[in-house]
Amino acid sequence: MNVVEASGLGKRYGRTWALRECTLEIPAGRVAALVGPNGAGKSTLLNLAVGLTAPSAGAVTVLGGRRAGSPAALDGIAFVAQDTPLYKNLTVADMIYITRSLNRRFDQPYARARLDELGIPPKRKAGKLSGGQQAQLALTLALARRPRLLVLDEPVAMLDPVARHDFMATVLAAASADGVSVLLSSHVLTELERVASYLVLLSRGQVRLAGDVAGLLATRGQASLEELAMACLRETMPEVTR
């Protein structure tokens, strides 16, 4: 099963194409990394996959053929958007209540235990938590929905190194222990090195490279994901070399 399938997918804002001719198959059971410079179309692709945006061209399905944004798709996908938006004036307990109410499944014991472990008090307002704690809260709420696919948009961009490490550890635990497929976007390549097993490289709204990380490294003769991505970006964007 593929967790995301796109064919000829495109999204236009006004006259500019944020994403063009995107054809992709991301297999299940992977941590897939969506990599590319700012403005490459990473957020656009993720928004299309979770159904927040409607495509201007082509089609995208998720979780084995479900239309993105359909009830069945929303039921199986948990999305943590960029800057982890939470209701800042609500308490952590309220956020748990709301997320539980809005979903068919919610693993409340997991959410409670995880937040306890992280030292996030339930009575504290979400807006009073540190950036790292807010990100962890958003991630915990997403995982407690027991999704089949977890989609994360630039999850660690705003976090300090320690918070970044902790966040990715939680993601990895869910992926390895519970078999959750993960699709995450990032421009912090070093952070993806340890976690990603599948790579999608975007630049200027187009897919430049997609495939199994190990396979790509072998065929391209690169030692690391970072080198691979940089080499590929230099090919497609000559100005990077200067």
Binding site: L52, A54, Q82, P85, N89, L102, A174
Partner: protein
């Protein structure tokens, strides 16, 4: 590291999940909007206590004036004057600031409760959270709007009943002879009664929701709501309301002196010998000088002295009016079209929620 406590379930119905029940939105809506709802409750509660306390004294003044015997005595005249003063000069009287301020209530409640519902989500980015939950985004928006609308309608209907009680003595008929101040329920605070107050509040609320969806920012959406509401309320009061039912026409000159009738005068004109003479309730100065130079406007008696004078010279005064007995039909007509408008605004908002790109 805490792992998920149960393995990810592969439900048979995963491909066609049962929708999350609507009732779950009650708690969600309450948690997200309790501050706005508490604000409305405090505002209406405080005004209700104030209205009740001054209303009690107005009702007492009215009862004393009506019960006074003999009606022609000086003491009774004082009681009548006392009531008329309370009815007109008081903060809530027809000339006081209170009535005007109350007119702002539907707009303020609707704008401050309605505009942020979607605008705040869009402004802070939390729509990316809300619209990707299993509940589904259009159901989420519809449930929220309907729940808030019902709560606001119930609160404002209760307040509208209190406003009606407050003005009851002024709208009462049958005591014109005593010279008690009277006002038309079709004119004074017509939009703040049992049916119209909730209807106008709903309209402002739904204008706010749509404006929030279109503008995507809380403060500009509130401003746009107030402006849109003001335009609609002005149009309804100035142009629409008088046409709800065809007005009645009378040639009685004893009709409708200011402050002495509960009917709503739409227009007045005079004819002589079957031909149009002049428009308005007051004759042109040339006619006054010609026929009625000896008549003084005096104080409002049982009939207009000029009209009486001109009637003797063959003039007929026509008045088109809406009788006070049409209060309830007018309430339901206005409430009805406002409710339809609100439903259309909600439908437009939901349509935008469904198709809006992030």
């Amino acid at each position: 590291m805490t792992a998920l406590t149960r393995p990810v379930r592969r439900d048979e119905d995963d491909a066609r999940p049962r929708p999350v029940p609507w009732r779950r939105m009650a708690g969600v809506t309450w948690r997200q909007h309790r501050i706005a709802l508490a604000g409305v409750a405090v505002l209406l509660g405080a005004l209700a206590v104030w209205l009740w306390s001054i209303g009690t004294s107005l009702h007492h003044a009215y009862a004393a004036a009506v019960a006074c015997q003999p009606a022609s005595s000086a003491a009774c005249g004082n009681l009548v004057n006392n009531f008329n003063r309370s009815a007109t000069d008081h903060a809530m009287g027809s000339k006081g600031p209170g009535g005007v301020l109350l007119q702002l209530l539907p707009a303020l409640i609707g704008a401050f409760a309605g505009a942020p519902v979607l605008a705040r989500e869009l402004e802070t980015g939390t729509f990316r959270y809300a619209w990707t939950q299993g509940f589904g985004r259009w159901r989420w928006a519809l449930a929220k709007l309907i729940l808030l609308a019902v709560v606001l309608a119930a609160a404002t209907a209760a307040f509208g009943a209190l406003v009606s009680w407050y003005y009851q003595p002024e709208f009462a008929t049958g005591h014109q002879a005593l010279g008690l101040f009277q006002d038309s329920p079709l004119v004074t605070l017509f939009s703040l009664r049992e049916v119209t107050f909730p209807a106008w509040t709903l309209t402002a609320f739904t204008i706010g929701a749509l404006a929030g969806m279109l503008i995507r920012r809380v403060v500009p959406a509130i401003v746009a709501t107030l402006a849109g509401y003001a335009g609609l309320a002005f149009a309804a009061g100035s142009f629409l309301r008088e046409h709800y039912l065809a007005p009645l026409v009378t040639t009685s000159i004893n009709f409708n002196l200011p402050g002495a009738s509960t009917a709503w005068t739409i227009s007045q004109w005079s004819t002589k010998g079957g031909r149009f003479a002049f428009a308005g309730g007051f004759p042109p100065m040339s006619l006054v000088n010609q026929f009625c130079s000896s008549v003084s406007p005096g104080k409002a008696g049982p009939a207009d002295p000029f009209a009486q004078c001109l009637a003797q010279h063959g003039y007929t005064q026509w008045t088109s009016y809406q009788p006070a007995s049409r209060f309830w039909p007018f309430q339901w007509i206005e409430g009805g079209w406002l409710l339809v408008l609100s439903a259309l605004l909600v439908a437009a908002t939901i349509w935008l929620v469904r198709r809006r790109a992030a």
